[in-house]
Symmetry: C2
Subunit: 340 residues, 2 copies
Amino acid sequence: MPHTNRQILLAGRPDGAPTAAHFSLVEAAVPQPGPGQVLVRHLWLSLDPYMRGRMSAARSYAKPVEIGGVMVGGTVGRVESSNAEGFAPGDLVLGYGGWQDYSVARPAELRRLDPSVAPPATALGILGMPGMTAYTGLLEIGKPKAGETVVVAAATGPVGSLVGQIAKLKGCRAVGIAGGADKCRALVDEFGFDAAVDHRADDFPARLTAACPNGIDVYFENVGGRVWDAVAPLFNDFARIPVCGLVSLYNATTLPEGPDRTPQLMRAVLTRRLTIRGFIVWDFAALESDFLRDVAGWMRDGAVHYREDIAEGLENAPDRFIGMLEGRNFGKALVRMAPE
Amino acid sequence: MPHTNRQILLAGRPDGAPTAAHFSLVEAAVPQPGPGQVLVRHLWLSLDPYMRGRMSAARSYAKPVEIGGVMVGGTVGRVESSNAEGFAPGDLVLGYGGWQDYSVARPAELRRLDPSVAPPATALGILGMPGMTAYTGLLEIGKPKAGETVVVAAATGPVGSLVGQIAKLKGCRAVGIAGGADKCRALVDEFGFDAAVDHRADDFPARLTAACPNGIDVYFENVGGRVWDAVAPLFNDFARIPVCGLVSLYNATTLPEGPDRTPQLMRAVLTRRLTIRGFIVWDFAALESDFLRDVAGWMRDGAVHYREDIAEGLENAPDRFIGMLEGRNFGKALVRMAPE
């Protein structure tokens, strides 16, 4: 067991896209678990778009990381030592340990993982926060009905790919938006989407229109920006728009040039009776057991698939995170911190 | 009985605010009821903001009035002659007869009114489409809970005044926005709002903030524009925003100057988990009997009040309609077409 705890700290708040300079790698002592606490060695760190929000001081649904604080993040780890009843060295646990090798936690902050059910890292992806975001947002807000058209962007990511696959299971037409031909091919061949549209194409709006011949009934919003601009004209009456992210805006430092199109959006809300509703996954915490049961069942049946994009070693986390915000990942972004 | 049917036709589509030139008054023959039809002489014509939408050719939830066509509108009238079972001369009926002295209708297009229950003209206001808009939008989308703050603009109008009064009945803090000191006084003294804010005041946003010390949980949107701009920063997490109208935008010919603040709105939706949902009253047609039972009951108990703003004679309808779009009415805008 190493005697140091490598940590990645927030070194400064980015004004725009984060760079390597906004992170610093330091070595600290391995923390000691207090009474009732567990020491966890991290095996996997999750990289997720919401972390960009935590790097800024702006008002959001969670507090920002402090300058000099350890970057937050979901982790899968192994219990190294335990002062808590019910946890023993060797146990695999899901937690929120952050960008570091070790963390201490109380039992309430951990969920035990059974590696015979699913690979442990899936607790950070399809069976974790991203999967539950897709499941709850699509089913509780999107309410897709058979025969409707469901559109999702960042569609090869862990949220988008599950949104499309659940839409298919509900009898919908699933249309994915992604960057580049490889991702678009995977959406159709690997994830079973009915159509995929490359948002980098010059004629992206026209392609999206062609892929949605009956308009759009559900748009699962996780990117915003020019994807939104192409999607909005296609909304059918009574379309539902769960909003769980706006990754294309996270690095923006200014608003786009005018005119101010807010009235256009509100008019569309009125005349087409749209429902636009923001959520974060924990708003639906009561549905966690439904989610785990359904998605684990679909995985067992081979009805849903997932893809992972793995970086090796904590030191590579910042670069991979920066790339994810630019759409360079292909599947759930993970950092392997230590061998399972 | 007069032998002519005065009609107000749409003479042209306004580009901006309508003027007298967009309407023309003509005389036509009184229509003859066909088999199964009823001839109705109109006593009351309703003037409502949605009519501005029907004057334009733009996509909306209903077809535009054709150039040279009779302006549409709700009417209360008396049956003059009947070829339909169940309707006899002298019956009072609610219909959609338009801006004219007479119309013919089938029984399915009419609702019989009992003048012993409520004054017939209330079927165009508090017991009609505006009242049901307030009732369904507030209760089905706004879902106000006791102790929450409900804000509504155009608050002395037939929709806004009922929104605030129902909010009070549900135990909420009701804050009304209106133009001018007289209207603001009436909101508090006559309709029982907790606070009223004059949107014409230079420091309107600051006054609204002061009137909502605990933020805004429900904003019933019927005006848009600068009222929206003042309301939006005050939304609490999980605020609900039923959108039933955008009267401040109806005459707009261009979008406001930039920057484009759409991303700002979408960020607020996300981080504060707002629900923005457009509706028209007939989306909730199934609730009509609940609405009539509840609101008629509250009227009987003296728990809700209403105000009417009456123009005399069809010839004055255009001017009054134009004024209503500018906020010059004070209560439900009606045209008295003939004595009851």
